[in-house]
C-alpha cells in the first residue's frame, strides 16, 4: 500500500470520527433534570414533566438518570469548577445532605420562598431546606415512619391491633418477648452496621446529631442517649434477628421470620411484594421514648428538588415545580398508585388514592394514617455533617453491644464527630 495516499485518508477518518462525536446542543426551553432511580424518581419526574408539557407545550423535559452517588459527584464537580453550563436546571438532593450543599455553595441554588406556598407541606420537610430565612427547594418524597406488624403472629401471642397503638419502646420489647415465647419468631430484624433505627428514634423525640445552630449535639443529647439505650435493650432482650446488610435485613420480613418492621413508608412496596402475606399485616405508629418531647412520628430518608440559580430556564423550572409539586393533588394520587411514593404535600390526602382501604393491610386506610403522622414529624436541623455523624455512630455500635456504658459510647461518638468535621 502506498503510504502517501494512506496517511491523509487515515487522518480524514480520525477527524470525521471526532466531529461525529460532537452532540447537538440542547434546545431552548428544555428543562434538564438530574436524579437517580429509573423506577422511582426518574419515572415520577417524567410523569410530572408530561403534566406540565400538556399545559405548556413549549416546555419539554430531559430527565437524566445517574446513580445517587454519581449525581452528588457531578453536582460537586460542576459547582466547584464554576462551569455553569455543565449543570442541570433541576437536581434531586437527599434531605440529609441538603444543608451541606446550601451552605457550601451559597448562591448556587434559587430561593423559592416568594413563589411557593410552603404552609401546605409537612413542616419538617420545609425546615431542612431553610437557610437564613430563605427556603430553597421543592419538598418531594417523605420517609415518614410506621410500625408494620404481622397481625397473625401477634394474635398468636395474645395481642390485638389496639395493643400496638401508641406504645412505648419498653412495651414494644415486652411484646417482643411474648411473641418469641408464643410463636418462636423474633420481633424485628436488626442490622448492627446500620444507624437508621438510631436516627428514627432520635428524630421522633425532636433531636438530631446537631442543634438548631448546627453545632454538634452528642453528649448532651437525651434523645440520642435514649435511642442507644433502646437498641441496647433490644439486643440484651434478644428479640431481634441479626441481619448483615440491607438485602439480608429486607429478607428478615419478606421471608416471614420476624413479626415487625420499623422504617420509612417507602418500604410498603417491598412488604406488599409478598402476595401470600396479604391480609396479615397492619401498620401502627412507631413506639415512643419515655423522655420529654417524645412522639410517635419520625422520618427516615427522603429527598427534594432544587433549582440551580445559574439555570437558563430558571423561571420555567420554578413555575413547573410549583404548578405540579405544590398544587397538583391528582399528581400525588398517580405517583402513590404507580410508584408507591408518598409526597410531602399535606393536601394530597384528600385524593382518592390516599382514601383507599388497602386489602393487603386487612382493609386499613394506611395512607390516611401515614398522612396524619407526616404532619407530626418533629422538625430537626440535619446540619452539614449528618453522614459523618452517622459513620461515627455506626463505628461505635459494636462497643455498645459489647457492654460499654452508653455515656462512654456517646463520648466516643462525640470525639469522632469532632475529629471528622474539623
Amino acid at each position: 500500500m502506498d503510504m502517501r495516499t494512506y496517511l491523509p485518508r487515515f487522518a480524514a477518518i480520525v477527524l470525521a470520527g471526532a466531529s461525529l462525536m460532537a452532540v447537538t446542543a440542547a434546545q431552548a426551553k428544555e428543562i434538564t433534570v438530574w436524579c437517580w432511580d429509573p423506577n422511582f424518581n426518574v419515572a415520577i419526574m417524567k410523569e410530572a414533566g408530561a403534566r406540565y408539557t400538556k399545559a405548556h407545550p413549549d416546555v419539554t423535559f430531559n430527565i437524566v438518570d445517574f446513580a445517587k452517588a454519581d449525581v452528588e459527584q457531578k453536582l460537586q464537580t460542576g459547582l466547584s469548577s464554576g462551569t455553569a453550563d455543565a449543570l442541570p436546571d433541576i437536581v434531586l438532593i437527599e434531605d440529609y445532605g441538603a444543608q451541606k450543599y446550601l451552605q457550601s455553595f451559597p448562591g448556587a441554588f434559587a430561593p423559592l420562598s416568594g413563589t411557593v406556598d410552603y404552609s401546605g407541606f409537612a413542616p419538617y420537610k420545609v425546615e431542612l431546606m431553610t437557610l437564613d430565612g430563605q427556603v430553597y427547594g421543592m419538598p418531594f418524597d417523605s420517609g415518614v415512619t410506621g410500625l408494620y406488624y404481622r397481625k397473625d403472629y401477634l394474635e398468636q401471642a395474645g395481642f390485638k391491633p389496639e395493643d400496638m397503638q401508641g406504645i412505648t419502646w419498653d412495651r414494644f420489647i415486652e411484646i417482643g418477648q411474648q411473641v418469641e415465647a408464643k410463636t418462636g419468631k423474633k420481633m424485628m430484624g436488626l442490622d448492627p452496621t446500620d444507624a437508621g433505627l438510631v436516627r428514627i428514634i432520635m428524630q421522633s423525640a425532636g433531636q438530631w446529631y446537631f442543634d438548631k445552630d448546627g453545632k454538634a449535639n452528642i453528649t448532651g443529647n437525651a434523645a440520642l442517649k435514649a435511642a442507644l439505650e433502646t437498641i441496647n435493650k433490644i439486643m440484651s432482650a434478644n428479640i431481634y434477628k441479626p441481619a448483615a446488610g440491607w438485602s439480608d435485613w429486607v429478607g428478615t420480613f419478606t421471608s416471614g421470620d420476624v413479626a415487625t418492621v420499623i422504617t420509612g413508608v417507602w418500604i410498603t412496596g417491598t412488604v406488599k411484594a409478598q402476595p401470600d402475606q396479604s391480609g396479615k399485616w397492619g401498620v401502627a405508629p412507631i413506639p415512643a421514648l419515655s423522655i420529654d418531647g417524645a412522639t410517635h412520628a419520625s422520618n427516615l430518608g427522603g429527598s427534594s428538588w432544587y433549582v440551580l440559580e445559574s439555570s437558563a430556564e430558571k423561571a420555567e423550572a420554578i413555575d413547573f415545580l410549583n404548578a405540579v409539586y405544590a398544587k397538583d393533588v391528582d399528581f400525588y394520587q398517580t405517583i402513590l398508585t404507580d410508584r408507591g411514593a408518598v409526597g410531602s404535600l399535606l393536601a394530597a390526602r384528600s385524593g382518592a388514592a390516599y382514601g383507599e382501604a388497602d386489602a393487603f393491610f386487612g382493609g386499613e386506610k394506611v395512607w390516611q394514617n401515614f398522612s396524619d403522622w407526616l404532619a407530626k414529624v418533629p422538625s430537626v436541623n440535619y446540619g452539614v455533617f449528618t453522614n459523618e455523624a452517622d459513620t461515627a455512630v455506626t463505628a461505635q455500635l459494636p462497643a455498645l453491644t459489647q457492654g460499654t456504658p452508653v455515656d462512654e459510647v456517646l463520648k466516643a461518638i462525640d470525639a469522632e464527630v469532632s475529629a471528622q468535621i474539623q
Binding site: 434538564t32 429509573p38 446513580a67 457531578k74 469548577s81 462551569t83 442541570p88 438485602s247 429478607g251 412496596g269
Partner: protein, 273 residues
C-alpha cells in the same frame, strides 16, 4: 516412603491453595451468571441455583436501557481511545528510547511522576479545561485526556530497549526515513507489545467510570458502565437485570482478551530475536 508422604502432602497443600484461589476468582463470576437467571427477590434470599427468570431479566434490561446506543457509545470511546493512545504513546516511548537528547531522562522522570497524581486531583481542572473548550458532554472529551498515557509510554520505552539497534542501522543504510523505520520496521516487530498494550488500554477505556461520569451529561452520551451504576443504585435494584447488564458489559472485554491473546502468541513467534 517418608519422602512420598511429604510429596503427597505437598501436592495436597498446593492443590488446596490453587483450588481456593480459583474458587475466590471464579465465584463472583459464577454468582453473576446465576444472578442473571434469578428474580431480584430470589437473589436477595441468597438463591445459588439457576433460576427461570433469565428471559424476563433480559427483556426488562432491553426495555429499560437503550442498549444499542449505550454499547455503541462505549465501543466508540474504547476503540478511539485505544487506537489514539497506542499511536501517540508508542511513538513517545520509541522516541524516548531511540533518540538521545540532553534532558531526555529528566523529562522522562517528570513524565513518570505524573503517574503519582491521583485522577481525583486532576478532575476539576480538567473539567474546567473541557468546559472552556466547549467539549463537555462529548465523547471526545472522554478520550482526549487518556491519549497521552504515562504508563503506556513507560511500557513502550521499556520494551523498546529489546528492539535491536542493528535493525535501525540496517534500515537507515537501505535509505528509509525515520517515520518509515517506525512504521515498517518497528511496528511489525513490536506486534506482541502492541497486542498486550491494546488489551490493557482497551479494558481501561471500556471500564473507565469516573471521568466519563463527570464529563458526560445526557442519556444520549452515556456509556454502559454509567447505565449499570444507575440501575444498581435504585432504591430497590432489580439485581437480575443488573447482572444481565454486567454480563453484557463483560463480553466485549472478554472477546478482546481472547482474540488478542492469539495475536500476542503469534507476535511472539514472529518477533526478531
Amino acid at each position: 516412603m517418608n519422602n512420598g508422604t511429604t510429596r503427597i502432602a505437598g501436592t495436597i497443600v498446593t492443590y488446596g491453595f490453587v483450588g481456593l484461589m480459583a474458587f475466590l476468582s471464579i465465584f463472583p463470576f459464577l454468582w453473576m451468571l446465576l444472578g442473571a437467571t434469578n428474580s431480584s427477590i430470589d437473589i436477595i434470599k441468597g438463591r445459588m441455583m439457576p433460576g427461570s427468570a433469565l428471559a424476563t431479566n433480559i427483556a426488562t434490561f432491553f426495555t429499560q436501557v437503550n442498549a444499542p446506543l449505550v454499547f455503541w457509545n462505549s465501543a466508540k470511546i474504547a476503540i478511539l481511545a485505544t487506537v489514539l493512545t497506542l499511536a501517540v504513546s508508542s511513538l513517545a516511548g520509541y522516541g524516548f528510547e531511540v533518540f538521545r537528547s540532553r534532558h531526555r531522562d529528566r523529562i522522562y522522570s517528570a513524565l513518570l511522576l505524573t503517574m503519582m497524581i491521583p485522577f481525583a486531583a486532576l478532575m476539576i481542572p480538567l473539567f474546567i479545561m473541557m468546559g472552556k473548550a466547549g467539549l463537555i458532554n462529548t465523547h471526545f472529551a472522554v478520550v482526549l485526556p487518556t491519549i497521552g498515557s504515562a504508563f503506556v509510554v513507560f511500557y513502550f520505552r521499556q520494551t523498546t530497549k529489546a528492539f535491536p539497534s542493528e535493525l535501525r542501522d540496517a534500515a537507515k543504510v537501505d535509505g528509509l526515513k525515520e517515520w518509515q523505520i517506525f512504521l515498517y520496521i518497528y511496528v511489525p516487530v513490536m506486534r506482541s507489545t502492541y497486542a498486550a498494550a491494546f488489551i490493557i488500554v482497551f479494558m481501561t477505556a471500556w471500564n473507565n467510570y469516573l471521568w466519563p461520569l463527570i464529563v458526560l451529561q445526557s442519556n444520549e452520551t452515556k456509556t454502559i458502565t454509567l447505565v449499570i451504576s444507575s440501575l444498581a443504585s435504585a432504591y430497590y435494584p432489580d439485581y437480575g437485570v443488573v447482572m444481565v447488564g454486567t454480563i453484557l458489559a463483560t463480553l466485549p472485554t472478554l472477546a478482546v482478551f481472547f482474540f488478542m491473546q492469539r495475536q500476542f502468541v503469534q507476535g511472539m513467534l514472529g518477533s526478531v530475536k
